[in-house]
């Protein structure tokens, strides 16, 4: 029982010390709320894993390859947002984002393709299929 108290004390100390000095360099970047018809959002924290980076890169490439015209006309958009930035909070709250996510959004409709995109993170072709299927679902 004493050990529990000790561990709890250690945790409390750690939590206290961290919350005091974790004002890491927040790049103030206001979350641009895209005005396009179909928006693909990738949300992440400052700390990311290799797979997380691959998800962003391949998702972006997939949209660029699949819908170059729609991107040019501003009909579709791809936006990557850091949840550690204060400016991201508003849109993250609105879309109900709690962590790393890949979302296809159209108006009030939202499709979460995080899980499936994570599984194909390193495969550009499969990522294209996931993005396409997400966009198809939200259009119809």
């Amino acid at each position: 029982m004493k050990r529990i108290i000790l561990f709890a004390a250690v945790l409390a100390i750690v939590a206290g010390s961290i919350s005091c000095n974790n004002q890491s360099d927040k790049k103030e970047q206001s979350a641009e709320t895209a005005t396009a018809d179909v928006n693909v959002y990738y949300f992440h924290f400052t700390r990311r894993c290799a797979t997380c980076m691959a998800v962003e890169e391949n998702a972006r490439k997939a949209i660029e390859a699949l819908f170059p015209n729609e991107l040019n006309t501003g009909e579709y958009s791809f936006t990557s947002l850091n949840l550690d930035d204060a400016g991201t909070k508003e849109i993250a709250d609105r879309l109900g984002v709690g962590g790393q996510s890949l979302l296809v959004v159209r108006g009030e409709k939202k499709i979460d393709i995080t899980g499936s995109a994570w599984m194909v993170a390193h495969d550009p072709e499969k990522m294209k299929a996931e993005i396409k299927s997400g966009i198809d679902k939200i259009l119809f």
Binding site: K2, R3, V10, F45, T114
Partner: protein, 234 residues
């Protein structure tokens, strides 16, 4: 990893999916580091084989408590968004100082002397009858330290399956078992393979003090590794 993903894509059963997600979590670099620390921690009691194996199971039970507890809280109606943000945003950041402080406590570099709790620090690495508690807490804390990758596997994949209905609430247990599997296997090997080699066993007893110090150093090194990952190498 590709092999596991292949199974995952073709899986029709949520129990298999939960198992695979757990295995993928267990072998991804960041939770692997906590599992290595855990293996070190539970093998401190190397002279008592049964205790080593039991500790492996208890560590996994600790993980199960965290994963299931979180799932139950979300199922009960807590905001998944807020919980996910809290743990994915903070879990890993809190882990590094926790590991370093735990390591320093084990080395007796720092001592916490509360009135009435003198001598506590000597017992944290003690093999006394209460040491199952520290293993359990280790499992609970390590499971809550979500890394960017494991956070997605848990919050974006396992949780939706789990909270879809009451019959999915056992899935975090399966997930936890899989994430603790490397530790259970190592504990079993340590307990029943290493321990059975008689001469080595006696030598280990002799070096036990040094072994425990090595474990403490592992904690500190893994803690520094996390600090580098989070604050320097990003």
């Amino acid at each position: 990893m590709d092999f596991l993903q292949g199974i995952l894509e073709n899986s029709q059963y949520s129990v298999v999916t939960a198992l695979i997600l757990g295995l993928m979590t267990a072998i991804s670099p960041c939770p692997l580091a906590t599992n290595i620390s855990a293996i070190g921690f539970i093998s401190r009691d190397i002279e008592n084989r049964k205790r080593v194996f039991a500790n492996g199971l208890i560590y996994t039970l600790g993980r199960a408590i965290s994963y299931t507890g979180l799932a139950l809280i979300i199922y009960a109606g807590a905001s998944q968004m807020n919980l996910s943000r809290l743990f994915q945003g903070w879990g890993e950041k809190l882990l590094a100082p926790f590991l370093i402080i735990a390591g320093l406590l084990m080395l007796d570099v720092i001592k916490i002397n509360f009135p009435g709790f003198t001598g506590l620090t000597d017992k944290i690495a003690d093999k006394g009858k209460g040491s199952y508690w520290s293993t359990l807490i280790l499992g609970i804390v390590f499971a809550l330290a979500f890394c960017p990758y494991s956070g997605v596997l848990y919050f974006a994949m396992l949780i939706p399956m789990t909270v879809a209905g009451a019959d999915g609430l056992y899935l975090p247990l399966v997930f936890a078992l899989a994430t603790g599997l490397p530790v259970i296997i190592f504990a079993w090997l340590l307990a029943y393979s290493v321990g059975s080699v008689g001469k080595l066993y006696n030598k280990i007893r002799t070096f036990e003090l040094w072994f425990r110090r090595a474990v403490a150093v592992i904690f500190i090194i893994v803690g520094i590794y996390y600090i580098l990952r989070i604050y320097v190498l990003r």
